[in-house]
C-alpha cells in the first residue's frame, strides 16, 4: 500500500463528473423517497432497489472504465520505484474510498436523518459493502482482460448476472425442487450472490420476511442469530477480498 497513490487517486476521482453526478443522483433519489413516504420502513423498501441495482451497476462499470482509462498512468507508475502490488492495492483503496464516500453522502446521510432504525443501518451497511465488492470485481475483470470494450462488456454481463440472471436461475431451481426441503440449501446458494445476501438481510430487518413464507422463516432463523450474522459478514468480506486478491496476484506478473 502506498498512501501517496491512494491520495492522488482520490483527488483525481473527487473531480470526476461521473462520481459527482452519481452522488447527486443517489442523494436526489433518497431524499425524494424519504420526503414522499412517511413510513420509514416503506421508504427503506423503495431505497432497497436503488441500492441493489444502481450501486453495483455504477460501482462495477465506473471502476472498470476508470481502470482502462488509467492504463497508461498505471504503466507509468509501474516504471517508477514502486512495488507492483502496492500500486494495484492503492488503486483499489482509492476507488473503494470514493465509492464509499459517494454512497455515504448520497444514501447514508439521508437515511441517518430520516430513518436511523436497524433497517436503515442495515441498508447503509449493505450498500457500503456492495460498493466495495463491485469495485473489487471490476479490478479483477480489468486486470484480466486487455481489451477495453471486452472488459466493459464483461463488467456489464457480471452485473446482469448478479442483479438478474442469478435470481432467475434461483427461481427456476425453486420451482423445480418445490417438493423437496431445500430451504437450507437456499441459504447456501444465496451466499453465492452478494446482492441476494444484502436483499435478504434488509427484507428481514423491515419484517417483510412474513411474505417469504416458510423460506422466510428459515432465513430469519439463520440470519437472526449472531452466528449467522457473523458468517454472512465474513462471506461479504470474502467477496471483497477474493477478487481483489486474485487481481493483485495477476497484476504482479502482468505485462504493461
Amino acid at each position: 500500500m502506498n498512501n501517496k497513490i491512494v491520495k492522488y487517486v482520490i483527488t483525481d476521482l473527487l473531480r470526476n463528473r461521473t462520481i459527482v453526478g452519481y452522488t447527486v443522483l443517489l442523494l436526489a433519489l433518497s431524499l425524494g423517497i424519504f420526503m414522499m413516504e412517511d413510513n420509514a420502513d416503506k421508504s427503506i423498501a423503495s431505497l432497497l432497489h436503488v441500492v441493489l441495482f444502481v450501486v453495483p451497476l455504477v460501482s462495477i462499470i465506473f471502476s472498470t472504465i476508470y481502470l482502462y482509462n488509467s492504463a497508461e498512468f498505471i504503466a507509468l507508475l509501474v516504471s517508477q520505484p514502486l512495488k507492483r502490488q502496492s500500486i494495484w492495492f492503492s488503486i483499489f483503496l482509492g476507488l473503494g474510498a470514493v465509492m464509499l464516500l459517494s454512497f455515504f453522502i448520497g444514501v447514508g446521510v439521508p437515511t441517518l436523518l430520516y430513518a436511523s432504525s436497524p433497517s436503515g443501518l442495515m441498508l447503509i451497511a449493505g450498500g457500503l459493502l456492495l460498493s466495495l465488492i463491485f469495485v473489487s470485481i471490476a479490478l479483477w475483470t480489468a486486470v484480466r482482460i486487455r481489451d477495453k470494450s471486452k472488459g466493459i462488456g464483461l463488467a456489464i454481463i457480471l452485473w446482469l448476472y448478479f442483479a438478474l440472471i442469478f435470481d432467475a436461475l434461483l427461481l427456476f431451481l425453486l420451482f423445480q425442487f418445490a417438493d423437496y426441503p431445500i430451504e437450507n440449501i437456499m441459504i447456501g446458494i444465496s451466499m453465492l450472490n452478494p446482492i441476494d445476501i444484502t436483499r435478504i438481510l434488509i427484507l428481514l430487518e423491515i419484517d417483510l420476511s412474513a411474505m417469504m413464507g416458510y423460506t422466510g422463516a428459515i432465513f430469519r432463523e439463520f440470519f437472526g442469530t449472531g452466528g449467522g450474522m457473523s458468517l454472512t459478514l465474513i462471506v461479504m468480506l470474502l467477496w471483497i477480498a477474493i477478487p481483489v486478491g486474485l487481481s493483485v496476484r495477476y497484476f504482479k506478473r502482468k505485462d504493461l
Binding site: 497513490i5 492522488y8 487517486v9 488509467s70 507509468l76 509501474v78 516504471s79 514502486l82 502482468k254 505485462d255
Partner: protein, 245 residues
C-alpha cells in the same frame, strides 16, 4: 551499468525478443533503432520491469532486477505516449512524482521545467494539454530526479523544433555527466549528433551493437541515416521504414 543476458519474451505465439545479450555502460548515449515491431519498446519495458521476460536476466549495476523495484530510483523514463490522470494539473502530476521519488527539493533538476516554461501552465489540467505539451511534461519528469540512466522512447515525436533543440542540448549535457542514455527514435537525423553507439534490432534480435564511428567508417558514410541505409541495402529484404530524412 545494464547487462542483459539471454533475454527472451513471447506474447502468445509471437516471439518478440529472442536471445538478447547486451552490455550498456555509463557515459554512452545509445540509439536503439529498428523497424516497427522489432521489439525496441518491449526491450525498454523489460529493463523498466513493466514487461516480465519469459526467460533470461537483466542486471542493473550488477544486481538482478527480477522482482526488484528500488533500482528504478536510478532510471528516468520518458514514455512514447505520456498519459496522466486527466483531472490533475501539471503541478499536481509533478508534485505526485516528487512525492513518489522522495528526492530533496534542492537536488531536483528543474532545467527542463524552466526551459519549457511549464511553470506558466502549472494549473492547466492534463486533459486540456496537446500531445506536444504532454511530451514536455514527460521529458521534464524523466530528467527531474537526476537519474543515472535515462530511457527515452521516441522523445522528439510531437515536439516543435525549438523544444526538440532544448531537449537535445539537455541530453548532450547529461551524457557528459557519465550517464547512460538510451533513445529509440525513427528520426535518425535527430540522433546524429547525440548518440555514441547504435543498437540495431530486427524481428526481436539484436543485429548489431556498434559505436557510431565504427559504423560510419565501415559503411564509408558521414550520416547515421546513410549508414543505416547502407547496412539495410546490404542485408537486402530488410524493409526500409526507418529512414525519415
Amino acid at each position: 551499468m545494464i547487462k542483459i543476458e539471454q533475454l527472451y519474451k513471447r506474447f502468445g505465439k509471437l516471439q518478440v525478443l529472442e536471445a538478447i545479450n547486451l552490455s550498456l555502460d555509463g557515459g554512452q548515449c545509445i540509439a536503439l533503432i529498428g523497424p516497427n515491431g522489432s521489439g525496441k519498446t518491449t526491450l525498454i519495458k523489460s529493463v523498466l520491469g513493466m514487461v516480465v521476460p519469459s526467460a533470461g536476466s537483466i542486471y542493473f549495476q550488477g544486481k538482478d532486477i527480477g522482482r526488484e523495484w528500488a533500482y528504478r530510483n536510478d532510471i528516468g523514463y520518458m514514455p512514447q505516449i505520456g498519459e496522466y490522470p486527466e483531472n490533475m494539473t501539471i503541478g499536481q502530476v509533478l508534485d505526485m512524482m516528487k512525492d513518489i521519488r522522495r528526492v530533496p527539493e534542492n537536488q531536483l533538476d528543474t532545467e527542463l521545467y524552466e526551459k519549457f516554461a511549464l511553470g506558466q501552465i502549472r494549473n492547466k489540467r492534463m486533459r486540456t494539454l496537446s500531445g506536444g505539451t504532454r511530451q514536455k511534461v514527460s521529458a521534464c519528469l524523466a530528467f527531474m530526479f537526476n537519474p543515472k540512466v535515462l530511457i527515452l522512447d521516441e522523445p522528439t515525436a510531437g515536439l516543435d523544433p525549438l523544444s526538440t533543440e532544448i531537449l537535445k542540448e539537455k541530453i548532450l549535457r547529461e551524457r557528459e555527466k557519465n550517464k547512460l542514455i538510451i533513445i529509440t527514435s525513427h528520426i535518425l537525423s535527430d540522433l546524429d549528433d547525440l548518440v555514441s553507439q547504435i543498437i540495431y534490432m530486427q524481428d526481436g534480435k539484436v543485429i548489431f551493437h556498434k559505436s557510431l564511428i565504427d559504423l560510419k567508417t565501415e559503411t564509408a558514410t558521414d550520416k547515421l541515416s546513410k549508414a543505416i541505409a547502407a547496412i539495410m541495402s546490404n542485408k537486402q529484404a530488410v524493409p526500409t521504414v526507418i529512414s525519415h530524412e
